[in-house]
Subunit: 205 residues, 2 copies
Amino acid sequence: MQHRGNLFVVSAPSGAGKTSLCKAVIDILPNLRHSVSHTTRSPRTGEVDGQDYHFVSNAQFDAMVADGAFVEWALVHGNRYGTAVASLEQVRDAGCDLLLEIDCQGAAQLKERCPDAIFIFILPPSLQELESRLKGRQTDTPEVIAQRLLNARDEMREMFWYDYLVINDEFDLASQQLQAILLASGCRTEVLKAQVQVLFEELDL
Amino acid sequence: MQHRGNLFVVSAPSGAGKTSLCKAVIDILPNLRHSVSHTTRSPRTGEVDGQDYHFVSNAQFDAMVADGAFVEWALVHGNRYGTAVASLEQVRDAGCDLLLEIDCQGAAQLKERCPDAIFIFILPPSLQELESRLKGRQTDTPEVIAQRLLNARDEMREMFWYDYLVINDEFDLASQQLQAILLASGCRTEVLKAQVQVLFEELDL
C-alpha cells in the first residue's frame, strides 16, 4: 500500500515570504521533506552527505550535467548547486512528499520532466507591499531592491500556469492555505485510487 | 473583486460519516453555506423560508420539474424535496461557497449541469467497519442494514469519477482533509485569476 509521494514545486518573487511559508508547513506535515540538492562545495561542520546536500566533485557534477541529470543548476559564489530528477524520484518512491523551492524558469523545466508535480505560486498582496517588505529587510541596497522589483514583475507574469496561487497578505492564513493545498493534493482520486483498490479488493473496483 | 463561490458536492455510502463531517466543516468555514432545497412540505415552527427551505406549493413544484429546474428531486413521506440549479447559482454568484450532500446519481446529473463543481466522495476504511458502524447505530433492522450495505457497494463503484476521496477512518483527520480540500479549492489559479488580475492591474497580466 506504499504510495508514491507528491512533488510540490513552490515559486515566488523575492520578498513574497516563500521561505518562511515553506518552513512553517515543513514543520507541521510529518510526511513532507525538503529536496536535497547536489553541490560541489565542501561540507561545512555538521553537514551530512545525503541529508543537507549530496556532496559531489566537480567531475561528478560535470558528468551529471552532461547526462541531463539536473532539472536545473546554478553557480553561486564559485560553487555549483543542482536539483537532480533522480533524487526527487527516490524520495517520492519511498512514499514521502517533497517540497521544492525553485524559480519560475526551473519550475517550467521541471514541469516537462515531472508533469504530475503540483505547482504553487506565492505572491505578495501588492507590488507596493512587496517593495515595502524588501526595504524593511534593510539588507539590500536601493539598486538591489530596484532589481528585485523588476525581477518580481517578470516572475509574476508566469504565475497563471501554476496550479495554485497563495496570496501572502496575512502569514497565518497563507500558511494555512499552503498546508491545505498539500493535504488536499494527497486526497486526489488519482493519488488514492491504487490504495483504495487494495482496501476494497473484494469489490474489484 | 467579488468572486464566484465554489460548489462542493459530497457523496458517501450510508454510515460513512458524511453528515457529521459536513457539519464539522460548515461550523469552521465562515464563507461556506449548506444548499437550501425546495420542498412542498409546510414550514415547521421556527423554520424560515429561503433559509431552512424554499417552501413552494405542489403546483409551483410541478412547474419547476417541468422546467427542468431541479438537479434532482425526491418524494419523502408524501412531500417532495428538490435541489434547484438556480438556487445553487444564486448563492455562488453572491460569492459564497456551497456544500451539497447528494447521492451518486444526483451528483452525476449535477456534473452535467455544473461542470466546475468539485466532487468529493467520503468512504469508510473498510466494508467491515461500515457494517459495524451501521449496526452500532441501533436504529435499523438487520434487513435495512443488509440493504444499506448492498447500496454502499453500488455507490462505491462510482467513486473514481469524483475529484477527491476522503477515507473516514479517524474522524479528526478526515475532517481536516475535507476542510483542506475546501480551502485549497479556493486557491486554484482558475478561481483566483480574475481577482489577481485586478490586484496587479498595472502589470496587465
